[in-house]
Symmetry: D3
Amino acid sequence: MKVETLFKFLEALKNIVRTGWMLRGIPASIGETVAEHSFEASVLAFYLASKLRDKGVNIDVNKVAVLALLHDLPEAITGDIVRYVKDAIVRARDFEEKVSTEAFGDEIASLIREFNELKTYEAKVARLAEILATHIQGKRYLANGYSRVEDIVNNTLEEIKELIKNEPLSKISDNINEIISKSRETYG
Amino acid sequence: MKVETLFKFLEALKNIVRTGWMLRGIPASIGETVAEHSFEASVLAFYLASKLRDKGVNIDVNKVAVLALLHDLPEAITGDIVRYVKDAIVRARDFEEKVSTEAFGDEIASLIREFNELKTYEAKVARLAEILATHIQGKRYLANGYSRVEDIVNNTLEEIKELIKNEPLSKISDNINEIISKSRETYG
Amino acid sequence: MKVETLFKFLEALKNIVRTGWMLRGIPASIGETVAEHSFEASVLAFYLASKLRDKGVNIDVNKVAVLALLHDLPEAITGDIVRYVKDAIVRARDFEEKVSTEAFGDEIASLIREFNELKTYEAKVARLAEILATHIQGKRYLANGYSRVEDIVNNTLEEIKELIKNEPLSKISDNINEIISKSRETYG
Amino acid sequence: MKVETLFKFLEALKNIVRTGWMLRGIPASIGETVAEHSFEASVLAFYLASKLRDKGVNIDVNKVAVLALLHDLPEAITGDIVRYVKDAIVRARDFEEKVSTEAFGDEIASLIREFNELKTYEAKVARLAEILATHIQGKRYLANGYSRVEDIVNNTLEEIKELIKNEPLSKISDNINEIISKSRETYG
Amino acid sequence: MKVETLFKFLEALKNIVRTGWMLRGIPASIGETVAEHSFEASVLAFYLASKLRDKGVNIDVNKVAVLALLHDLPEAITGDIVRYVKDAIVRARDFEEKVSTEAFGDEIASLIREFNELKTYEAKVARLAEILATHIQGKRYLANGYSRVEDIVNNTLEEIKELIKNEPLSKISDNINEIISKSRETYG
Amino acid sequence: MKVETLFKFLEALKNIVRTGWMLRGIPASIGETVAEHSFEASVLAFYLASKLRDKGVNIDVNKVAVLALLHDLPEAITGDIVRYVKDAIVRARDFEEKVSTEAFGDEIASLIREFNELKTYEAKVARLAEILATHIQGKRYLANGYSRVEDIVNNTLEEIKELIKNEPLSKISDNINEIISKSRETYG
C-alpha cells in the first residue's frame, strides 16, 4: 500500500456516512461515519474478547480489536454498499478480496478475509461486536424519532441471537443480553 | 408503486450525500445530497433544452427536465454506487431495470431506461445537464480546498467535451463552453 | 438570464434552508434546503399528475413537474420569505413578477406566474404537490420531537383539504388521503 | 411579551442562519446563526464603546452592548430579510416597529428603534460593531474559498469607512483600522 | 487585549459546542455553541432584570445583560471544561482570574469575577439567566429524544429553585416558575 | 466497568469534536470527532508497527493498534481538555489514572497508562501514530483555509521529528518522512 493511499483512505472513512442510516432518513450531518462505527465496534470487540478470555477461552484479545478496526477498510474504495447491491455483485467475495489485496496489501487483506469468513474465534467476536455496535446505534436513532431504522434494530437483534447460540459466544450470552437490555433502558 | 414507498424514497434521496464527494474528503454535513444534485441537473436540463429548442431543434423541453429529475431515483434503494462497484455487478443494466420497475412501476422505469440508454435527444440533453451539474459542484468544492475532487472535475469535463461533439448538443456547444468558462471565473 | 446567474442561483437554492423550519427550532444542519423541497415537490407533482391522467384528465404531466421544480426559483434572490413578511410587501405579486422576469427571463417567469395564479390544471396539481411535500416534511420533524412545527402540519392539511374539494383534484382525493394516512403511520 | 414567546424567539434566533451567507453558497451547517452574529456584535460593541469612553467620550458602555444584542430580535418573527426585499416593503420602518412592539413590548421595541435611527452615540457604536462583525465573518468565509461573499466584505468596509468619518466614531478610527488590518492578516 | 486576540476569541466561541451536550450524545452539528448560549443567557438576563426593576429593585439592567454576555469568554482559551475537571484544578478560581486578566484585560476580568462571585444583585440575576438558559435548552434536547441530558435538566432546576429562594430573585419567583412551566408545555 | 457505562462512553466519543479544532475556527459540523481521530490513529499505528516489525523490531503490532484505539477513552468523562488547562490540574497524571481506573477498570486503565508513560516500544509507536494523525488532519483543515490551525501543524511536526530521532522509531524515519511529504503534496 502506498502511504498516500493510506491517509486518503482514512480520510474517506472519516467522511463516509453509513448508507443504511441515510436511506432511512437520518440527516447526513448527524449520521454515523464509517470511522466512528469501526471505532465503536473495535472497542466493543476488545471488551467482549476480554470477557471471553476471563471465562477461560483461548482468544487473542488485541487481534479481535484489530479485526473490528479494519473490517470496513474496503469501503474507502467501494463506498458503503447495501446488502441488496452486494447480492447483485458476481462473486462478491472474490471482488472484495481483490479490492483489499490491491489496495491494502496481503496482511490487511488477510485480516479482512478472516473477519468475513467468520471461522476463527477472533472473527466471531469481532463480528458480534460489529453487529452489536450497529444495533445500539440504531436504538439511539429510534430514540430520536427516526422510526424507519426499526428493521435494522430488529435484524441485528436476530443476528446477535443466532451468533450467541454457539461456542465460544454462548459463554458470554449473559453479558450480551445485559448490554441489549441496558441499551433498551437508556435509549427507550 | 405504493404511496408510502414514494415518500420513503424521497426522504432517502433528500438525506443521501453523494458517495463520490465523501470518498474525497467532503464532510457529509456540507455534502451535496442526491436530491440537491437532481434539482440542479433538472433545472440545467430545462435551460439547455430551451436553448436547443430556440435553435430550431425539435425537443420536448419539459421531458428533458423530468428525465434529469428522475434519473437517480433508484439510489433510494441501492444507495449511491460508485462506478468501480457498478462495473462489478453482473448485468448492471438488467439489475437497475429490475430495481426501477419493481419499485417505481413501468412509467418511471421506462423514463430511467431512456435516460440511461442515451439515444433520444431528450436523454442526451438530460445526461449533459447531469454531468455539467457534477462538474460545477466539483469546482465549488475545489474552491474550498478539497483538492481531491480534481479527478471528478477533469473527468466530467472530458465527458462533456465528448458529448457536445455530436448532434444535437453541438448546436449549443458555445453555451456549454461559456458556462464552463464562467464557472471557472466564479469558483476559481 | 446570464449563465453565471444560473449556477449562482442554483448554488443559492442548494444552500438556503427553509425559514419556516428554522424559525420553529429545526437546526439548520438538518434543515431541508429549498432545492430538496423543490425536488420532492416536483417528483410528487409528476406522480399525482400521472394519477390524474390515468383517470382520464387532460393534463400535461411533465409540465406539472416543471412548474413544481421552478416555483421557488425567486428565492435565490429574495431568500425564503415568510408569509407574514410577504403580506407587508406592496403589490407582492408585481414584485415577484419583476424579480422573476429580470432574473430568469420571460419563459421561466411565465411558468412561475402560472404556478402562482393557480388557474390551470397543471398549476393546481403542482401547488397541491408542493403543499403535500411541506406537510410530509413537517410530519418528519414532528416525529423527531420538533413539536413547534405543528401549526405548519395543520395548516398544510387544511389547505390540502380545500384544494381537493374541486376539479380536477377531487378525482384523486382518495390517493391524497391515502398518502396523508400512510405518512401518519410512518412518521407517527 | 409572553414568556413562552421569549424562549421560542430565542430558539428561533439560535437556529436561523443568516440569509446573506446561504445565498452566496455557504452551507447552512457551517453558517453563522443570528444568535452567533448578535453575540459577536455585542461583545465588539462593548469593546469599542470602552475604547471611546477611555478617550473621554460620554457613552453608556453597557447600553451599547445591549443595543447590539437586541438589534436582530425581530428576525425571530420575520426571518432574516435581505435588503432587496426590505426595500420592497411599504413603510418598512413602520412595519418593523409594529412587529417589535407587539412581540417584545415597548421597552425592547424602543431600544431596537434607537438602534435603527442611528442618532445616539450608543446606536452609532452598536451599528459600527454590527457591520464590523459581518465584515470579519465575511473574511473568514473568503478564507475558506467562498469567494461569492466578496461583495459583502467590500460593502461593509465601505460602510465602516463612512461611519468612522464622523464624531464620535472618528475618535477610534485607529482602533477600527487596526482591527480591519489584523483581520486581513489573520484570514488572508 | 490585542485586537486580533479579540476576534480570534469570538471566532472560537462561535464554533465551540458545549461539552456537556456532546458528552450526552448530542451530535456536534446540532449542538449549541457557547456563543449561542451566551446570547440566550444575555437576553434572558435583560428580561429578568427588567422584571426585577419593575418590582422596585434597584438594579442595573444593562449591566446584568453584559455580565451574562461575557461570562463564558474564558472558554475561548480553555475550551468548555466540565465541572468534574474544574474540581481537579488547583485553585480553579485563581486560574480563571489569571486567564481572564491576561487575555481580556482588567475591565472584562473584573466583570467575569463579579459574575463568578455571585454577590451583587446583577451577578445573581445573570447567573439565574444562565442556568435557566441551560435548563430550557436541555428540555429542547429531551424533546428530541436525547434522554441522557436529563441530569442537566434536573440539576439546573434544583439550582434555580435554590437561587429564587433569596432576595432579590424571590421577587420574580412567579415569573421564573411560569417560564419553567411554559417551557415544559412547549417542549413536552 | 458497567456495560451501560461502556456504550454511553462510546456515544460520547462519537459526538465530541476535538476542542483544538473548534478553538481555531473549525465549525463543529465539519470537526473531527474523538472517535474518528482514535480510528485514524489506530489504523496508522497498526501500519507503522507492521513496518517496524518488518525491519526486525520485536513489537506486538496488534497491541500498538489497541493502545492508539483506547488512548482517548478518558475524554468520555473529562471532555477534550486543552494542554493549557491540563497543566493547571494538580497531579494531572494521578487524576487521569483515577478517572481511568474508576471508569474502565484495571485492564484498560493500565493500557492507557502504558500509552501515557511512553516507555514501551508499543507506546512509542502508538504515540507517534496519534501525533501523525493530528498532523495530517491539521493539514486537511489548512487546505480548506482554516489558517489558524497552523500552530498545531507545526507543533506536531516538531514532536514527530523528536520522536523519530530515537530507537525504535528511527528505523522507520524514512516512512514517516515520506508520509509527511506526501500529505504535503496531497493537501497543499
